[in-house]
């Protein structure tokens, strides 16, 4: 807050300092506008981890929309700005819908290629856009009648208008990052698959991020038109996408100030280097390569880390040993009437990968309140079976029913919202987030998904429930630690905790004791047994003592088929199981 006040004061008084010439003021205004563009860009890159190379389209379409409105229809300034921002939003929506069918670097390539369509449209539509000459002849900019205030052409007035708009935009984006939606975006960035398993429609989250980013990029584009009183065609050329990427990474992704610093450095390079050096792009490109290789946090990000280290990072509590988990569930189980039918059922469930039938016609029923173990040799299809039940993979044949309704083919986030949660055999947590946030984001999924107003940390019930879960796991002393720094055993507990935090009626645990020491395994077994009095559990486990000790019933899979099913005693006595599984 103090930093923001200082920045505001500096911006407000900037014109008073020495060297107040229209040229420098114009330059400062331009830096601010590009800073806003980079900030908008970072909503997508720093916020959700999506790399876009199509932002030239958002900026450019907005710049031309504003310019055309001003030039042709003499639309009032504030309406033109808004129309520009909305044009950016619409463009990003169009692009987002198409490119989000892919991910990663492939998505980046698509954004670049698709954004060029807009460039060609502008290039060919010369009568309206001015083609390669750009769009000039913008009239004196004025606000609409009711305000009655004519904006003079003096750069200082324009400077203050731009500062006002940018401060508002910055506050809005800061608010976004602290909102429940902002937290979901960060979870998607940290681990998209797990975010989906917590009930978040990750593609929609990314689309919303695209839209927000497009809106503010559009606002920057509209402001740029006002500042320059001209729309150069470079605004919509793909090299503009590269420029904003460079600005963002120069300054540091994931920071509020970084984009502005990056824009300043970039524009300094452009204007001052190019005055003395004809080939300034060599230096921009070279500096960019060096930043990516050696300073991935950017200027501001690295400074922040350096300051934090000098101040001495907030003392982290020493690694407290995991206490034996307390099993009392603070909330009574969801008051569902006892059901006689199966809570979860699969009929003829089959999954074929190429020539391999991993799961073959599995009929499977689990009653409410049961603790069922699924065992079988390696490669028996247990994990694939879990992936089918939770909607991660679509089955080749067969049906799945949960709570009496068919869920076959539902995506993972929809299955999660119905109350079916899972933990993973290979630890799959939000590595970059704190332990507390890992659990909190999962709890939040039961309250709100995509709300972009209000602060996530003011959702008191969510935070309280997350703390309860951390206590249950014995991880409360570690709540502020980045979870990638937890020990293996702690991570395994957190793994279960994230699943529990979605308040499921049904919990699939995929080898919770994988890689644990014998003592940890025993404690985990007791923990799982304790959970079973609150939630229906299906457990995949290799440790036979655990399985025989805590299961109500056991299903044995072999080569993707059900070999046997029964109580631990029955399974122990089953000749088929002994022959195939225990190999005697």
């Amino acid at each position: 807050m103090k930093g923001i006040a200082v920045a505001l004061l500096l911006l407000a008084t900037a014109p008073l300092y020495a060297d107040y010439t229209p040229f420098y003021l114009g330059l400062l205004t331009e830096v601010l506008v590009f800073g806003l563009f980079a900030l908008a860009y970072d909503v997508l890159l720093g916020g959700t981890g999506v790399l876009s190379l199509g932002h030239s389209a958002f900026l450019g379409v907005a710049a031309y929309t504003t310019g055309i409105l001003l030039a042709r229809w003499r639309t009032p300034l504030e309406l033109s700005l808004l129309a520009g921002a909305l044009a950016g939003l619409a463009t990003s929506g169009l692009l987002g819908v198409l490119v989000l069918r892919k991910r990663g670097v492939y998505l980046a390539m698509l954004t670049l290629a698709l954004s060029q369509v807009f460039y060609y449209v502008v290039l060919m539509w010369t009568p309206v856009t001015g083609g390669t000459d750009g769009l000039g002849n913008l009239p004196i900019l004025h606000l609409s009648e009711p305000l009655g205030w004519r904006l003079s052409k003096r750069p200082i007035t324009r400077y203050y208008v731009v500062v006002a708009v940018i401060v508002l935009a910055m506050l809005a984006i800061r608010h976004l990052h602290a909102s429940p939606l902002g937290r979901v975006m960060r979870a998607v960035k940290a681990n998209e698959a797990r975010a989906a398993a917590c009930g978040y429609d990750t593609r929609r989250v990314k689309l919303v991020a695209f839209l927000i980013s497009g809106f503010f990029s559009g606002l920057a584009g509209a402001l740029l038109t006002v500042v320059l009183e001209f729309v150069p065609i470079e605004n919509i050329h793909w090299s503009m996408s590269g420029s904003v990427l460079i600005m963002t990474l120069f300054g540091g992704t994931g920071t509020l100030l970084g984009p502005f610093v990056g824009a300043g450095v970039f524009i300094w390079m452009r204007d001052f280097l190019s005055k003395h050096l004809e080939y300034w792009e060599v230096f921009v490109g070279g500096a960019f390569v060096l930043i990516v290789l050696f300073l991935p946090d950017g200027i501001v990000g690295s400074l922040q880390r350096w300051l934090a280290r000098r101040r001495g990072a907030p003392a982290q509590p020493a690694a407290a040993p995991v206490e034996p988990a307390r099993l009392a569930r603070p909330r009574p189980p969801a008051g569902a009437p006892a059901m006689d039918g199966a809570l979860l059922e699969s009929r003829g469930l089959t999954k074929i990968f190429g020539g391999l039938t991993a799961v073959n016609g599995v009929d499977f029923q689990v009653r409410r309140g049961e603790l069922r173990s699924v065992i079988g040799p390696n490669g028996a299809g247990k994990t694939t079976f879990f992936n089918l039940l939770t909607g991660v993979l679509p089955p080749t044949r067969g049906q799945i029913f949960f709570k009496g309704r068919e869920v076959t083919g539902l995506p993972a986030h929809a299955v999660s919202r119905l109350g079916l949660a899972r933990s993973y055999q290979v630890t799959n947590i939000f590595g970059d987030l704190s332990v507390f946030e890992n659990v909190r984001i999962a709890v939040q999924s039961r309250v709100t998904h995509y709300r972009c107003w209000g602060r996530a940390d003011r959702l008191a019930a969510v935070s309280a429930r997350a703390d309860e879960i951390l206590r249950l796991l014995g991880l409360e002393a570690r709540r502020h630690v980045r979870c990638a720094e937890l020990s293996h055993g702690e991570q395994r507990y957190l793994e279960i905790g994230i699943a529990l935090a979605t308040d499921p009626d049904f919990l699939l645990l995929d080898e919770p004791t994988a890689g644990m020491s014998p003592e940890e395994t025993q404690r985990t077994a007791a923990f799982v047994r304790g959970l079973a009095s609150h939630v229906t559990i299906v457990l995949v486990e290799h440790d036979m003592d655990v399985v025989m000790g805590i299961s109500d019933r056991i299903t044995v899979l072999n080569y993707g088929q059900v070999l046997a099913e029964g109580t631990p005693a029955e399974i122990r006595a089953n000749a088929d199981v002994r022959r195939v599984y225990l190999r005697d």
Binding site: V99, R101, V105, M109, L112, A113, L114, G285, F288, V292
Partner: protein
Amino acid sequence: MNGCILILVALGLSIVFGLMGIINFAHGIFYMLGAYAGWLTVQLTGSFWLALATAPLAVGLVGVLVERGVLRRIYGTRNANFAGVLVTYGLAIMIPDLVRMTFGRPGKPFAVPAALTGSLFRLGAIDVHAYRVFILAVTAVLLPALWLLLNRTNLGLVIRAGTSDNLMVQLLGIDVARTWTITYALGAALAALAGVITAPLVAVAPEMGGLVLIECFIVTVVGGMGSFVGAVAGGLIIGEALALTGMLYDVLADVVIYLAMALVLLVRPRGLFGQEGMSEE
């Protein structure tokens, strides 16, 4: 003809992506450097045929330098694939300016070699130029050779295995690092060769890499990234689409290929010959 060039450039892009997971933004640069290397060779020796050999060799060497000097630093880091895009993008900004610095801003004229000038024969109303037949012939020889290299040699086996499971290949005791260098250089050399043989049709200019890069993106999206057949089919489709709309209504030529790509994305996100699950949602 466009199609042939596109196939050669897109193949390199596709092979490198398949193996290394990196979208190589510097690929267009290799194409442009190839054209310059060819121009330089012709200036110094007067032989176009020699240029066909020197350009791929020289640019292949540049590819080795880029892979060893820059890309090697990011393997295994967090978000290595993103960083790969970013550093190659930085190179794509840097190198054209270096070329401008060395050779000047204006493009360089590059004459069609004397032996291949003029029309070979007439097909209906159309003159078939000898040089265009030459490009076809080069592609027709190179493609099967490349296919054999990828499918019938040890190197090809390692590349294809590395594409599907890199870690496993390393565990088998194969020097993957060397394979990556070779593959990257191979892609660069292919692009350079395409650059030399295009040079007589267009002026050699520092900007020529950027355009071809985007067209190759479209080719690989349409055909399917990482697929040999996909690059060939995509190159033919996009090349023909460019040529046909160019003939009929050239204002649309630039846009039509983007629409083709959008259509493929909507109907078949993995591309015509792409493998299931390749970077898909």
